[in-house]
Every structure is written in structure tokens, then in C-alpha cells.
């Protein structure tokens, strides 16, 4: 894994923090690695923190949406946390609502929600 993102496995949940300088190749690598880790670690939830991302363009948005779909097929729920308000407004203007992903304002909100659905 590159240093553009780190994956931590805590109580059936994979926590991922994406750094701002992530490249297209890095994020595709992350998508692959996370897909494998969901199965090998038996994760029921994936929480992706994008608070370090200044922008989310259509490429990164598409990868995040795909990742959520892949995780769902592997029986894990994905939460995207830490989206900046201006990023949310811009994504909607781009016509990307990430409707396949759950979102939460923070990591603790996401974990609470995963616990409530007994996934963590």
C-alpha cells in the first residue's frame, strides 16, 4: 500500500484515511486492497475518512461509489465521513450524489450507526 492512505482494522470495521495528495493510481490500488481486506479480515463495515480531501472530482467520486458497491456485494457497509460542505455542494452540481454510499459527519457517528445495525 502506498502512503496515500492507511487502512486500520478495528472491531470488524476497516478504517481508511485518505490523504490529500492521493493519485488516481493510488486510489485504484486502495480500492483493490480494501476489497481484499474486507474478505480476509471479515470486515462488516468500511469507514472512509475524506476530511483531508480538498476536492472530490468525478474520478474520485466514481471510485468511492464503486467501492461502496463492491463492499456491499462482500456484505460490508461503507460510510464516507468528513466530507466538507463545499465538496458536497460541488458533487451535487457535478451530478454525483454518491447515493450508493452511506455518509456520516464523523467517524464516531459512523461507528455508532454501524453498532446500531449490529455490524460492529
Amino acid at each position: 500500500m502506498t502512503d496515500a492512505a492507511s487502512i486500520y482494522h478495528v472491531e470488524n470495521v476497516l478504517l481508511v484515511a485518505i490523504r490529500d495528495n492521493i493519485t488516481d493510481t493510488d486510489i485504484i490500488t486502495l480500492q483493490e486492497e480494501l476489497s481484499h481486506r474486507i474478505v480476509s479480515d471479515g470486515a462488516r463495515g468500511v469507514v472512509i475518512d475524506i476530511s483531508a480531501l480538498e476536492i472530490v472530482d468525478t474520478f474520485v467520486g466514481r471510485i468511492l461509489a464503486q467501492l461502496s458497491s463492491i463492499a456491499r456485494l462482500l456484505a460490508a457497509e461503507t460510510y464516507i465521513v468528513g466530507m466538507r460542505p463545499a465538496v458536497a455542494m460541488t458533487l451535487v452540481e457535478l451530478g454525483m450524489d454518491l447515493s450508493g454510499s452511506r455518509t456520516a459527519l464523523s467517524l464516531s457517528h459512523a461507528l455508532r450507526s454501524l453498532r446500531a445495525s449490529r455490524l460492529a
Binding site: D57, F59, A86, T90
Partner: protein, 135 residues
């Protein structure tokens, strides 16, 4: 068109995907220096990301130049590539048009995020995109 009253600020070469991030950061810094508000900045930098990615992924690379116009304060970005050019620009700007890795919302999406958007392209002669936003 970028007028003669716009001052060139910097140029970033676009060779590979690392330069996409470099181009974004460079524009972001210029907007910060001039006190751009968060939403204005995110919208413009997102548009920059789309057009420079297009130049790197489809245009075989090129360069991005940033210009600033005073009174009224505006930022302009010109992105040129030396790729195969776009045969049907109207089609390329439609949501859903996609040739390779994009979702097909890239160029059309960029157009919606800026105050002005101009694209010129010639088959075999590369593509130039100019965008601007008031600050």
C-alpha cells in the same frame, strides 16, 4: 479568451497523474492568496482537476497556465494538450460521454462549475480549454 490584461502567474507541466495533483495544489494556493471563499475555491479547483485530468488521460499531456486579472479580480486557467483532439466537442461536453476512465461527467461538469468555459480542439491538433471565475 484570456485577455492581454490578464497577468500570467505560473505554469505547471502535465506529464502524468502526479501533475494533476500538482496543478490542483498550484491553483488552490493562488486562490488562497487572493482570499477566495471555500465554495468558490472548491468549485474552481474541481473544474481544474477535470480539465487537467482530461489533458493527461486523453491528450497525452501538455501544460496548464494560471492567469490573474485585476479589477474585477478573476482567475483564469488555460490547459493545453497535444493529443488527438476531440472530433465532436458538443458530444464530449454531454453528461455520459466517456472514452476511457472518466464517468462521462468530467468536462460537462467542469463547465457548470465555472463562470466561463471555452474549448477549442482540432482533430490531430490537440485541445485547449480555458476557464475562469470571478473572485
Amino acid at each position: 479568451m484570456i485577455g492581454a490584461d490578464a497577468c500570467p502567474v505560473l505554469t505547471v507541466p502535465l506529464r502524468d497523474e502526479r501533475d494533476i495533483a500538482a496543478a490542483r495544489s498550484a491553483v488552490s494556493r493562488e486562490l488562497d492568496k487572493r482570499g477566495a471563499r471555500a465554495l468558490r475555491k472548491v468549485r474552481f479547483v474541481t473544474a481544474v482537476s477535470e480539465i487537467v485530468r482530461n489533458a493527461v488521460d486523453h491528450g497525452g499531456g501538455g501544460e496548464m497556465s494560471v492567469f490573474v486579472k485585476e479589477r474585477p479580480l478573476e482567475i483564469w486557467v488555460r490547459c493545453t494538450d497535444t493529443g488527438p483532439g476531440i472530433a465532436d466537442i458538443d458530444e464530449a461536453l454531454q453528461d455520459g460521454f466517456s472514452t476511457a476512465r472518466s464517468m462521462g461527467k468530467g468536462l460537462g461538469g467542469a463547465k457548470r462549475l465555472v463562470d466561463s468555459f471555452e474549448i477549442t480542439s482540432r482533430v490531430g491538433g490537440g485541445t485547449t480549454v480555458e476557464i475562469s471565475a470571478a473572485l
